[in-house]
C-alpha cells in the first residue's frame, strides 16, 4: 500500500483536564523524512501530546492536521483507528496471545491472509527477527519485543510514527544497537516520526529536530545544534545538557559585570537583567587566561577531563586540556572563557 506522506501540523493545540492545562498552545510540525525528538521532565505533557496526535484523546483547543485533512479540532475528532498513525509504547504492549508474526500482521487486516503474512515476515526480517517469528511475546527478550513492536507499528505503512520512550525499557547494552537499527529503518521509510525521550543524548544524536516541553508548553523546537547552542530558555538549556546557571546580572549598553569579569552580551539582549549559563567546556584551564580561579578538587577523568574550581564564591567546573598536568588543591590557576559556550537569557 503506497502511503502519501504529508506534514502533520499542530496549531495551538491544547488539552485541559479537570481545569488543568496538560498541553498548552503547542505549535509543532512533523515533516516526512524527519525525526523530531521531544524532551522534558515527567508531567511536562509529552505523552499526552502523543495521544492527541494519535487520536486517543480529543483536543480542548487548537487543531491537528494531516496534509489537507483535519484530524482534530474542538468540534470533531477523527477516531484513532482511522488515522493510520503508528505508536510504539514504552512497555511494548504486544498482544500476549499472538505470535510475533501475528502481532505484526494485526494491522494488516485489509490484506488477504497470505499477503499479510508475507509482509509481516519481511518486516521481522528487516529487524533481524525471522528466527523468532512464531515465538510468543513472553518468550522473547526485551529487545526482541521492542523490535516486534516497531515492526508492528511500521508494517501497515503508517502516515506517522510516534514513539513513547521506546528504548528506556531496554537494558543499556542492548539499547544502542536496537536504537540504531530501528531509527535507521524509520529513516528509510521516510515516515514523519516523533520520539519522546528523557535522554538528551538520544535526542541530540539521532533527531533532526529537538523540541523541549515544560508545563504543557512547547518551549523551543530547532535543529539539535541550534537548540544546544542557542536555547531560548534556561529550561531548554538544562534539558539538552548540563549547564551552570548564574544570575541575574544588570545589563547596560551591551555590557554586563559578571563574576567572571566584564563581558559583552549578544545584540539580542536588551538593557535590563540577564541570566548567564555556562555549558560544559565554557571554562578551560589556560595559562594565558584572564580569569583567576582556585583549584578545589582532583581532576575527573573522562572524554574530557574536568576539574572543579572556584571563582570568587562560585563553584564551577573547568576543562583540562593537559591530562597529565599536576594540579594542587588550593593552587591558583588561570581560566579562559569560550564565549560560544555562553548562554544568555533575558529575564
Amino acid at each position: 500500500m503506497v502511503t502519501e506522506l504529508n506534514d502533520i501540523r499542530l496549531e495551538a493545540v491544547g488539552r485541559r483536564y479537570g481545569g488543568h492545562a496538560i498541553v498548552d498552545a503547542v505549535d509543532l510540525t512533523l515533516h516526512p523524512g524527519e525525526l523530531t525528538a521531544i524532551l522534558g521532565a515527567s508531567g511536562a505533557g509529552k505523552s499526552t501530546l502523543l495521544r492527541l496526535i494519535a487520536g486517543l484523546e480529543p483536543v480542548s483547543s487548537g487543531a491537528i492536521r494531516h496534509g489537507g485533512t483535519l484530524w482534530s479540532d474542538t468540534r470533531h475528532t477523527v477516531p484513532a483507528e482511522h488515522r493510520r498513525v503508528g505508536l510504539v509504547f514504552q512497555d511494548f504492549a504486544l498482544f500476549p496471545h499472538l505470535s510475533a508474526a501475528r502481532n505484526v500482521a494485526f494491522g494488516l487486516a485489509h490484506l488477504d491472509r497470505s499477503e499479510a503474512r508475507k509482509l509481516s515476515l519481511s518486516w521481522l526480517d528487516r529487524l533481524g527477527l525471522s528466527a523468532r517469528a512464531e515465538a510468543y511475546p513472553h518468550e522473547l527478550s526485551g529487545g526482541e519485543q521492542q523490535r516486534v513492536a516497531i515492526a508492528r507499528a511500521l508494517a501497515p505503512s503508517p502516515v506517522a510514527l510516534l514513539m513513547d520512550e521506546p528504548f528506556s525499557g531496554l537494558d543499556p547494552e542492548r539499547r544502542d544497537g536496537v536504537r540504531e537499527t530501528t531509527l535507521g529503518l524509520i529513516a528509510e521509510t521516510g515516515v514523519p516520526a516523533l520520539l519522546v525521550t528523557h535522554q538528551p543524548e538520544e535526542a541530540l544524536r539521532h533527531a533532526d529536530k529537538v523540541a523541549v516541553m515544560s508545563g504543557g508548553k512547547l518551549l523551543q523546537c530547532a535543529a539539535p545544534h541550534d537548540a544546544y547552542l542557542r536555547p531560548s530558555d534556561p529550561v531548554v538549556a538544562a534539558a539538552l545538557g548540563p549547564v551552570s546557571l548564574l544570575g541575574m546580572f544588570p545589563v547596560s549598553d551591551g555590557r554586563v559585570d559578571t563574576p567572571l569579569g566584564p563581558l559583552a552580551v549578544p545584540p539580542s539582549i536588551q538593557d535590563g537583567r540577564v541570566t548567564m549559563g555556562l555549558r560544559e567546556g565554557a571554562l578551560s584551564v589556560d595559562a594565558g587566561g584572564t580569569i583567576e580561579a582556585r583549584i578545589v578538587g582532583a581532576a575527573l577523568p573522562g572524554a574530557v577531563f574536568r576539574v572543579p574550581v572556584s571563582v570568587g564564591d562560585l563553584g564551577l567546573e573547568a576543562v583540562l586540556q593537559d591530562e597529565e598536568a599536576a594540579l594542587v588543591a588550593g593552587a591558583t590557576i588561570a581560566l579562559r572563557l569560550n564565549p560560544r559556550r555562553l548562554l544568555w537569557f533575558q529575564s
Binding site: 498513525v85 503508528g86 512497555d91 504492549a93 496471545h97 499472538l98 510468543y136 513472553h138
Partner: protein, 550 residues
C-alpha cells in the same frame, strides 16, 4: 483455573514424592489435601464395593440417557452464560451508558439466590397454569392445547434456569480480566485500525479467555452437581439419577458409580480447557496500569447495553424474587418462627467458611508454588468441588461409620454431625477460595517474592509480610462467595444436618418438594436476603477495585 505461566520450578519443587513427604514445609499442604480428598476416596471405595443388581438395571435404563442429559445441560448453559455475561462485562468495564454503575454490581445479585429457588419461581411462572401462559390464553383466546409454549420443565428450561442463577461466575471472571488488562494493548489495537468490535473479539477476549474459562468452569461444575433445580424441573441429569437411584434401590453402590461417571465428565471439561489454551501467554507484557477511560455510547448502542444488562438482572434475580414475594402475599402466608432456622444457617455457614478459608490459603499457596505439590493441590481442590454434595455426604457417612467401628467416636452425636458437615463443606467449596488466592498471587509478579527474598526475608517472613496480604486480599472475595454458597447448599445439609439444626435451605426445599410452594417462599426469600449481604459487600469491593489491585 489459572495457570502458572512459565516460572522456573526450583529444585525443591521438582523433588520426588518421597522428598515431598519428608519436607516439613509441605506438611500443611499435604494435610489440607488429605482433608479435601478423603470423602471422595470413600466414595470411590463404595463404588468399587457396590454394584450388583441395582447397577445392572441402572446401566440398562439410566446411564446413557442421563449422561447425555448432563452433557446437554453443560453445553447449553455454557453457551447461554458466556454469550450473555461476557459482552455484559465488556460493556460495563469499557463504556459509559445510563445505569452502568448500577449494573456493574447488580449483575452479581443472582449469586444470592440458590438455583433451586429460581427453579421454584420459574416453574410457577411459566407452567401451563401459571400467570404467563394464562395471560397468553386470555389475550389470544386460545385453549391450553392450541398453542405451543416452551416448556420450562425440560432440558433447555433447566439450562436456562441454571444459567440465570450461575452467570455471575462468568461475569466476574470476564470482568476481572477486562478491568485488569493493560489499556495499552487496547490502545495499540485501536491505532492498528481495530474498531470496537475487533478490539473486543481479537484482543480483549482472547486475553480474557483463561479468566472467563475459570469462571465458566466453576459455574459448569455447579450445573453438573445441581440436584434441587434440575430435579424440580423434571430433568434427569446424572446428578439427579444418582440420587434417585440411591432412593430407589437403597444401595449406595450405583450412586457412587454414577458419581464417578459424572466426575469423569467434569474433569474432561477441565482438561479440555487447559488443552485449548495451548502455548499462548496471558500475562500482559507490561505492569504499568492506566485507568480505563470509558467511552460513552451513542443512543442505540447505549440502549442495547442497558437492555442486555437489564435483562440479565431481571431474569437472574428481580423476576423470580418478585414472583415469590407475590405468591407469599397472595396466599397470605403467615410467617412462621424462622429465628432458629436462620441462626442454624448462619452458624453452619460461618463454621464452614472458616474451615474453607484456612484450607484455601494453604492450598492456594501450594498451587502457586507449582511443581508436583502444586499439581496435587490443584487436583485435590478441584475434585472436591466437582463431586455433588450428596455424594460427598455419602463419603462422610462412610468415614463416620469407619470411625465408629474402630471406636474413635461414640456415634452420630451433634458434634460428629457438625464436624462431618463442615468437612463436606470444606471438601466442596474450598476450590472457590483456593482459586482466588491462586489468582491473587499470580497477578503479583514473581519479582515481588524475589525482591523480598533478596532483602533478606526468610520464607516465613516473606509469606507473612508479602505473600499473605496479597493472598488475603484475593481471599476476601472468595470467602464471601463461599459463605453464600454454603448457606444455599442443599443435598449435603439435608442428609447430614445435626439434630434440631434445620436450616433455611432444608426448610424451603422440604416445602417446595411437598408442593407447598407458598410455604417455601418465606424461607427462600430469607435465604436470598441473608445471601444478599456478602453479595453487596462484594459488589462494593468490585466498584472500588482499581486495576492492578483487584
Amino acid at each position: 483455573m489459572s495457570e502458572v505461566t512459565g516460572t522456573a520450578a526450583s529444585a525443591e519443587d521438582r523433588s520426588s514424592l518421597r522428598l515431598l513427604t519428608h519436607h516439613w514445609r509441605n506438611m500443611p499442604a499435604l494435610a489440607a489435601m488429605l482433608v479435601l480428598v478423603l470423602p471422595l476416596m470413600a466414595v470411590v471405595l463404595a463404588a468399587l464395593n457396590g454394584g450388583g443388581d441395582g447397577w445392572r438395571n441402572v446401566v440398562e435404563t439410566k446411564l446413557f440417557g442421563s449422561t447425555l442429559t448432563t452433557l446437554g445441560l453443560l453445553a447449553l448453559s455454557a453457551a447461554m452464560m458466556t454469550l450473555t455475561a461476557v459482552p455484559a462485562a465488556w460493556l460495563v468495564t469499557q463504556y459509559r451508558f445510563p445505569g452502568r454503575g448500577l449494573f456493574e454490581w447488580a449483575l452479581i445479585l443472582p449469586l444470592a439466590a440458590p438455583a433451586y429457588v429460581l427453579a421454584f419461581a420459574y416453574k410457577d411462572l411459566l407452567n401451563v397454569a401459571g400467570p404467563v401462559q394464562s395471560a397468553v390464553r386470555d389475550l389470544t383466546g386460545l385453549g391450553a392445547r392450541d398453542y405451543w409454549f416452551p416448556d420450562i420443565a425440560s432440558l433447555p428450561g433447566a439450562a436456562f434456569v441454571l444459567s440465570a442463577a450461575l452467570f455471575p461466575y462468568v461475569y466476574l471472571g470476564a470482568r476481572s480480566s477486562f478491568v485488569n488488562q493493560s489499556v495499552c494493548t487496547l490502545d495499540a489495537a485501536r491505532l492498528l485500525g481495530a474498531g470496537s468490535k475487533r478490539r473486543f473479539l481479537d484482543v480483549a477476549l482472547p486475553a480474557a479467555r483463561p479468566a472467563i474459562a475459570a469462571g465458566a468452569a466453576l459455574a459448569l461444575m455447579e450445573v453438573a452437581a445441581d440436584y434441587g433445580a434440575t430435579s424440580h424441573l423434571g430433568v434427569e441429569s446424572l446428578s439427579v439419577a444418582l440420587i434417585v437411584n440411591w432412593e430407589g434401590y437403597n444401595d449406595p453402590g450405583p450412586a457412587a458409580r454414577l458419581s464417578l461417571v459424572l466426575l469423569t465428565l467434569v474433569f474432561g471439561l477441565f482438561y479440555l480447557e487447559r488443552l485449548l489454551r495451548g502455548r499462548a501467554g496471558v500475562q500482559a507484557t507490561s505492569s504499568r496500569w492506566q485507568q480505563v477511560k470509558r467511552a460513552p455510547l451513542s443512543r442505540w448502542p447505549a440502549l442495547g447495553a442497558m437492555l442486555l444488562c437489564g435483562t440479565l438482572v431481571l431474569l437472574g434475580f428481580i423476576l423470580p424474587m418478585a414472583r415469590l414475594v407475590w405468591i407469599a402475599v397472595e396466599t397470605q402466608i403467615v410467617p412462621d418462627d424462622f429465628t432458629s432456622a436462620t441462626r442454624n444457617s448462619l452458624l453452619l455457614a460461618g463454621m464452614g467458611t472458616a474451615a474453607c478459608a484456612i484450607l484455601a490459603i494453604v492450598t492456594g499457596f501450594a498451587m502457586r508454588r507449582g511443581g508436583q505439590l502444586g499439581r496435587a493441590s490443584r487436583f485435590a481442590v478441584s475434585s472436591g468441588y466437582a463431586v455433588p454434595g450428596s455424594v460427598l455426604v455419602l463419603g462422610a457417612f462412610a468415614i463416620i461409620a469407619a470411625a465408629q467401628h474402630v471406636g474413635l467416636i461414640d456415634g452420630r452425636t451433634v458434634v460428629v454431625s457438625l464436624v462431618g458437615l463442615v468437612w463436606v463443606y470444606a471438601s466442596r467449596f474450598t476450590a472457590v477460595g483456593a482459586n482466588a488466592v491462586d489468582a491473587a498471587l499470580a497477578r503479583a509478579p514473581a519479582s515481588f517474592g524475589h525482591a523480598a527474598r533478596s532483602l533478606g526475608a526468610g520464607p516465613v517472613k516473606r509469606i507473612a509480610r508479602v505473600e499473605l496480604p496479597i493472598a488475603l486480599s484475593g481471599l476476601i472475595t472468595g470467602t464471601l462467595i463461599m459463605f453464600v454458597e454454603i448457606l444455599k447448599e442443599l443435598p449435603a445439609t439435608l442428609l447430614l444436618q445435626p439434630f434440631d439444626w434445620e436450616t433455611l435451605a432444608v426448610r424451603a426445599y422440604n416445602y417446595a418438594s411437598d408442593e407447598r410452594l407458598a410455604s417455601a417462599t418465606l424461607p427462600s426469600l430469607l435465604i436470598t436476603a441473608v445471601g444478599l449481604v456478602p453479595v453487596i459487600i462484594l459488589s462494593r469491593a468490585l466498584s472500588l477495585s482499581r486495576p492492578g489491585r483487584h
